[in-house]
Amino acid sequence: MTQSDAQLVQETLDGDRQAFALLVRRYERSVRAVAMSIVKSSHTADDIAQDAFVRAWEQLPTLRNPKVFGPWLMKITRRSAIDSLRRQQSLTYSDGLDQMAAHERNGQLDEKQQHLLETIDRLPKAERQVIMLRYFGPHSVRDVANIVGRSVGTVTKQLSRAHKRLKNRPQESEQ
């Protein structure tokens, strides 16, 4: 059975780095998504994602409730992304090289995808978490339930509500 976030957090705190590697693998795409919803650039998002996981690692002992690892990580990511935006005003010496590498590695999101991503970011916390795990993991509904420590029924309802909100979101031209 898929281990819950809380179990992996506890194993990490017990000194098992591989447990944290599983969390990184589990949340890589979700963290990237949150970062991209703010900074738009896939390459910068990669940096932010790495920084967010390193920060999470360093701050893990301060996480009081291991069950909320996912939302907590997203909060760290969001803060890192906002910091990154602010830093763009700073003097840098090789942004060009970095962007060059970025364009060779990844395409950017189109406007519609960017809009969808931003809408996901505005979903209620619980719904956002299950949507990200379900699609960005990707994980089965049962695995999502195990990861977040909720019942399959609850997760199904939350996914359903999230789908509805995303379907009914204002379209790009209306914004």
């Binding site: 017990d14 590697a21 998504a33 090789s94 060059m100 995808q113």
Partner: protein, 413 residues
């Protein structure tokens, strides 16, 4: 986007966001080098200022303590622990490391991962830096400095730096301070570092150096503290962006018995806060380091840095003002004239990926150039619109202190 296909759209979005094969390895590698290891004790010397200053909530308390300590130093330390003592401590510390033939230092610096070695920013997170040096059998000193997206080696004959895994800068030089890493190499050469401190301790008319004992988690450490002024004024563009342009205080931590240097910190005084910006977290003396560790693996598809050559029409470029050079550079980008672009750069070729970023731009504005006290070149404010609609607004750094006297882009893009 049709609403009825939301699940498909989500799946497509997930595909587009993607994952990177080496991402988990990259994160785990950074974690391995992190000075903070949750769940187990590191066994490293526990330096109280590090603990205090890492927490922003108590920074003001720490700042107050430092200010009080600075005031006290004028009245008490000069008599109780005069600089004669600083000189004695440093003399002993130099003797303690005189038989060092190799060294391995782990440190962290508040900077950008993608920058060279000297940029600092008190608002940024820490980036790990690792340094090695050894006296090889041929008598040469070999050094290596790693930070994310930078690897640098120097051996007294040449310096090689790999930027972002495939951009290579190589120069023949006997110096060990290339690519703005000189302040780090001064740390690696711990003997010279201490001798330099000793020199300052012997002539300290403004009482900027203090020595005292500090009880830290039950461990008695000997601390040498030195204040240093910024080399630029308070409103300078480069204020607090580099070590020398920051108002700062260094703390050296010694074993009180052996006088061996076991840690070092640098705190930047930013006007409202005292922020820990650099810290040596571990020093290993005389580790065994293979010579091969000082040779970098250069990828076959690497792009090389080259010094500007004198062109047939060199005068045309050498006579440009910084603003004209910035305009010509961005015009070359706008027209996708890469031959012209290279005349303002030090790359051997223009990467295709970068061409897609900077090619076909629209110049929105180019402002009036300005200078900083701490930089030999010029900064030219600009605003451009990339093909993808992204607006880039920054200051282009240009300098012409090369043999061809042409303006080359040194940063800010």
């Amino acid at each position: 986007m049709k609403p009825e296909h939301i699940e498909q759209n989500l799946e497509q979005l997930a595909d587009k966001i993607g994952t990177r094969d080496s991402f988990v390895d990259d994160v785990m590698s950074r974690i391995k080098n992190s000075p903070v290891q949750p769940g187990k004790k590191t066994g490293k010397p526990n330096i109280v200022l590090r603990r205090i200053l890492m927490k922003k909530t108590v920074k003001f308390t720490a700042a107050a303590v430092i200010v009080i300590a600075a005031v006290l130093s004028l009245t008490i330390w000069d008599t109780a622990v005069p600089n004669v003592m600083a000189s004695e401590v440093l003399t002993s510390a130099i003797q303690a490391v005189q038989n060092t033939y190799s060294i391995h230092i782990k440190a962290k610096l508040r900077t950008l991962p993608q920058d060279n070695f000297s940029y600092i920013n008190p608002e940024l997170d820490f980036v790990p830096i690792e340094m090695w040096a050894k006296q090889s059998g041929d008598g040469r000193v070999r050094m290596r400095i790693d930070k994310p997206r930078r690897q640098l080696t120097m051996d007294g004959q040449a310096a090689t730096m790999i930027i972002n895994h495939n951009y290579i800068t190589q120069i023949e030089t006997s110096a060990y301070g290339c690519f703005n890493c000189d302040w780090l190499t001064r740390l690696i050469a711990v003997n010279e570092l201490l001798e330099n401190e000793l020199k300052m301790a012997k002539d300290d008319p403004h009482h900027e150096i203090s020595v005292y004992h500090e009880e830290i988690d039950g461990q008695n450490l000997l601390v040498l503290q030195r204040y240093s002024q910024a080399n630029v004024s308070k409103d300078d563009y480069l204020r607090n962006k580099f070590i020398q342009s920051a108002e700062r205080t260094f703390y050296y931590y010694f074993d009180p018995e052996t006088k061996v240097l076991i840690g070092m910190q640098m705190i930047v005084h930013t006007g409202g806060e005292d922020v820990l910006v650099f810290e040596i977290t571990d020093i290993e003396y005389n580790p065994e380091i293979a010579d091969s560790h000082f040779t970098l693996d250069i990828p076959s598809n690497a792009t090389y840095h080259k010094e500007p050559e004198i062109l047939p029409d060199n005068e045309k470029y050498a006579n440009m003002t910084p603003k004209e050079a910035a305009t010509a550079f961005f015009t070359a980008c706008a027209q996708e004239d890469w031959e012209e672009y290279l005349k303002f750069n030090t790359e051997s070729r223009v990467n295709e990926g970068w061409k897609r970023v900077i090619g076909g731009i629209e110049i929105i504005s180019i402002g009036e150039p300005f200078q900083s006290e701490g930089y030999g070149g010029w900064f030219v404010p600009y605003e451009i619109k990339q093909k993808d609609g992204h607006i880039r607004k920054h200051n282009l750094a240009l300098r012409n202190d090369n043999p061809a006297k042409r303006w080359v882009v040194d940063g800010g893009i």
